[in-house]
Amino acid sequence: MDNKKLKNLKKQQEYTSYVNQKIPKPNYLKNCIWAFVVGGLICVLGQYINNFLEDKGLSKNEIATATPVILIFLGSFFTGLGVYDKLGKLAGAGSIVPITGYANSIVSPAMEFKREGYIFGVGAKMFILAGPVLVYGIGSSVVIGLIYYFLVL
């Protein structure tokens, strides 16, 4: 690298660290409390649905299918009503990590790109945010599965 490029790079590094001091810091404690409470409440709701279905006499396997289905429906429903994004603004990861957040990440682009049609809009853009989660989620489960297979061999 010649001198001029090096000088330029140094100037950029200096400016970046100067700018970093100017960026306001979020209130981590407040954000954590919100995420904990909202994320916790969504889990409590899941447990309640779980217990309710058990009371109704569903088998363990049936409950394991029905509970996420209901939560995904609720996440999608409240995204459609325009409520989930407001919850997400307060709760952050608290409402993103549970399965309802996953529903939100699929339904919100589907709604947004409806105007481009059902094929190239809804169909193509629906997984624009959830797609990477699927790719690496499924990918890593295959890797872990292989490791497990060879460990117990």
């Binding site: 970046t16 810091k25 954000n31 919850l87 709760a91 919100s108 790109f113």
Partner: protein, 339 residues
């Protein structure tokens, strides 16, 4: 030999073109902001009766042109050129509006600096004797910008504190060689400056060095200083960019403090309206200039204004490829007749 140039990057007009009329259309949120009484039209619905955000933005731009032409006692056919741009891919809002308006059209992309770019080129074509009347207009829409550059509206995510809020609005200004109203006397065209900022949530910091370069060059070229102006206003640096610009300019031996403000901070009340670092977008400096500043010029509250629209020339592709944000700023001097 160009006779109207001074210094490195500045043009001084021989017969300064007048800004004889302006108009502004803004969205709901802007209509609740501190400048609400200065805008001509405030939408009651962000779709403006259209089928999509993009078409709504296009309609805002078209209506802004029509209203500005009307207020200047002209017909659309009197306009020799339309200098115009927006933030969308291939200038969708602008081109669609130009299709209906049928004014000879130059489409411009300078990101959020487009308003000053359009005014600069419009003023040059009038002083050059290539046009009698031109219209300079730009637009942006929060919803169309979010879907192109960021996330779906209904996604439950948290915005960074340094992020800015794209203004929903369009501003149009009619320039003419008729001798009435505030005049554009100088323009300083900026260079692309990039100090390596990659954070798309902190565009104010990316653009501040470009604004500094243009303002300092303007002072050097013209011999003006902050004392020569009643108001120096940048386009959309926001709270963080504004603070950085003040320090960068001070570092170069100039002072802006008493007369300096930013359109992105004027248009919203950040604490009440939850707009984080302030407004941004092509519509930001366009509506603040065409609404607030122009009216203050007409009332003679301000007599000498330096408008410095700032643009972050990134794209979704460049950001995803990990490139830094190239930025630009264009300055125009607007002076009242009597001064």
């Amino acid at each position: 030999m160009a006779t109207k140039r001074m210094g490195k990057q500045t043009v001084k007009f021989e017969k300064p073109p007048s800004i004889i009329g302006t108009s502004s259309v803004v969205g709901l949120k802007e209509g609740e902001g501190p400048l609400r009484e200065y805008f001509d039209t405030i939408l009651t619905d962000d779709l403006y009766g259209e089928k999509s955000w993009e078409l709504a933005e296009s309609k805002m731009l078209r209506e802004a042109v029509k209203t500005a032409v009307q207020k200047s006692d002209f017909n659309i056919t009197d306009m020799n050129y339309m200098f115009s741009g927006d933030l969308l891919n291939q200038l969708m809002s602008t081109s669609f509006a130009a299709r209906d308006l049928k004014i000879p059209f130059f489409g411009l992309y300078g990101a959020c600096s487009t308003m000053a770019e359009a005014l600069s080129l419009g003023a040059m074509s009038i002083d050059g004797g290539y046009a009698d009347n031109v219209v300079a207009v730009t637009s942006s829409h929060f919803c169309s910008a979010e879907r192109q550059y960021r996330f779906p509206l209904e996604l439950g995510n948290q915005r960074a504190l340094s992020a800015q809020w794209t203004v929903t609005g369009a501003g149009a200004a009619i320039l003419s060689n008729i001798n009435t109203g505030p005049k554009i006397t100088h323009i300083t065209t900026g260079k692309v400056i990039d100090l390596g900022i990659k954070d798309v949530n902190n565009m104010g910091a990316a653009m501040a060095p470009a604004a500094m370069d243009t303002i300092v060059t303007h002072f050097q070229d013209t011999g003006f200083s902050a004392d020569s102006y009643d108001l120096i206003v940048t386009g959309d640096l926001g709270a963080i960019g504004k603070e950085i610009l003040e320090e960068l300019v001070l570092d170069k031996g100039y002072n802006l403090n008493n007369v300096y403000n930013d359109c992105g901070l004027l248009i919203f009340d950040n604490n009440v309206q939850d707009t984080h670092a302030g407004g941004s977008g092509c519509g930001c400096s366009a509506t603040v200039f065409c609404g607030y500043i122009y009216k203050k010029l007409m009332e003679k509250t301000y007599n000498k204004v330096l408008l410095v629209s700032t643009g972050a020339l990134l794209s979704t592709t460049s950001a995803q490829q990990g490139q830094s944000i190239p930025s630009i700023a264009h300055a125009i001097t607007i002076i009242n007749d009597t001064v």
